[in-house]
């Protein structure tokens, strides 16, 4: 909820998010960034105003009164039900955290098979999240304090949002809320900050490619599985 984020989604991503045309995986990442970034929330409000003005200016035809009556009746029924409905119990899993964006916590908690950490390397764990789309693997990554990850290139698009702690690569230090987009050809070697573990939300459209001399041996194991 701080306002110190330095890496933001670009204008066209925000606009597509506002218009609702951004794909699911990217929307999840933009939504996570917005949780931390007051600046982008402010831009989003104005982008929403553009949409609302366009909607408002449309030519209209009068509506059939029957539709209003119908909606009024549905509302009556709703009010009867909601008076009686008990509060929904929430099942908190270990992975959800109070500081996380609500959309991320909802993904963690909505899964019928609770996501769990799997070891990827000596310093990185990963937990896949179920998002109901097939284009991106959406997952949480956890880098331990000071942990080094192998140097890699990207086979497709990769969105990353830092949820907790910070990490760095050759270009910059990324902390809570920062939004990072990597494309094929963007080679980097992320490292966890020394002062604590770092947890990121990420969405990948293709596996990463290790660039070390023996990396090609590993690349066969690096698969993504969107769910």
């Amino acid at each position: 909820m701080n306002n110190k984020t330095r890496h933001h989604p670009d204008t066209s991503m925000l606009l597509e998010f506002s218009a609702g045309t951004l794909d699911t995986a990217a929307s999840i990442c933009v939504s996570a960034h917005l949780h931390f970034c007051a600046h982008c929330r402010d831009s989003l409000l104005r982008l929403d105003q553009v949409g609302s003005k366009l909607m408002e200016d449309a030519e209209t035809q009068p509506m059939d009164d029957a539709l209003l009556e119908n909606v009024m009746q549905q509302i009556d029924r709703l009010d009867d039900v909601s008076d009686a409905a008990p509060a929904k119990p929430t099942t908190a899993t270990k992975m959800a955290e109070a500081d996380y964006p609500p959309s991320v916590n909802k993904l963690i908690e909505a899964d019928d098979k609770p996501p769990r950490w799997r070891r990827l390397s000596g310093s990185v764990d990963m937990a896949r999240l179920k998002t109901g789309q097939n284009d991106f693997e959406v997952a949480l990554h956890r880098i331990c304090a000071g942990g080094k990850t192998p140097k890699h290139d990207h086979g497709g698009l990769e969105y990353t949002v830092v949820l907790k702690g910070s990490f760095s690569d050759e270009r910059a230090v990324y902390s809570e809320g920062d939004f990072i987009l990597r494309k094929p050809g963007d080679t980097h070697q992320p490292m966890g900050a020394q002062n604590g573990e770092c947890i990121c939300l990420s969405a990948q459209s293709a596996p990463i490619k290790l660039t070390s001399p023996w990396g090609f041996l590993m690349n066969n194991w690096l698969r993504i599985s969107p769910r």
Partner: protein, 207 residues
């Protein structure tokens, strides 16, 4: 002096009739206020539905969307904060989310863990910009939107009303993706929608 302060405070309360009505629905479950909102917004939502060029959208869904949106408005009105957005902007966001969710439900056999409105959850906080600033930007927007060059206006309509992604718009218009993006950016610059982060910090210090 007190008089001036009062005048200032009352001038920053959002006073357009729709926002007042929506607040009444939220606070008092006021049915006649809701009916008035319905009469104004239902035709707008219907034409928003008709504008959709999403794959899988068909005319039979238009009135379904109107009903679904207006019922959501009734259910969620208590969460409406007139200091954050006008009623029209708020109802637009409900309509946008419902339209996408209806499409996803129609085209997807998988269970979807998130509804579209989940992406827009806002943390409770003070109003990011003052209402006065917002009103100014809304007025500027109204004015400048009508003065946009046709090719910029066309793309904004495609994206917001028809629901086309930048990539789809570029295909349809036979333009490179980069051109679509730069037209969008030019339009937003003209409307002064995007304030670069650096400037915004300066603005915050000035206040």
């Amino acid at each position: 002096m007190t008089g001036r302060v009062n005048a200032l405070q009352s001038s920053v309360k959002r006073s357009d009739q729709w926002s007042v009505l929506l607040t009444c629905v939220g606070e008092n479950r006021d049915r006649s206020a809701f009916a008035a909102l319905f009469k104004h917004y239902a035709p707008l939502i219907k034409s928003f539905a008709q504008a959709s060029r999403h794959e899988g959208w068909f005319p039979g869904l238009n009135e379904d969307l109107v009903q679904e949106v207006m019922i959501k408005v009734w259910q969620k009105a208590a969460g409406y904060n007139p200091e954050k957005a006008s009623a029209t902007t708020w109802i637009y966001t409900v309509a946008r989310n419902c339209r996408i969710d209806m499409l996803r439900r129609k085209s997807n056999t998988q269970h979807l863990p998130l509804e579209n409105e989940d992406y827009w959850h806002e943390p409770d906080e003070e109003t990011p910009t003052s209402l006065l600033q917002q009103k100014r930007s809304e007025e500027k927007l109204r004015e400048s939107l009508s003065q946009l060059p046709r090719e910029q206006d066309e793309i904004l309509r495609k994206v917001y009303l028809e629901g086309k992604s930048h990539a789809e718009a570029s295909k349809e218009l036979g333009l490179p993706l980069g051109t679509v993006k730069s037209r969008v950016r030019l339009a937003l610059q003209k409307m002064q929608i995007l304030v670069p982060a650096e400037f915004q910090d300066e603005l915050a210090h000035e206040q």
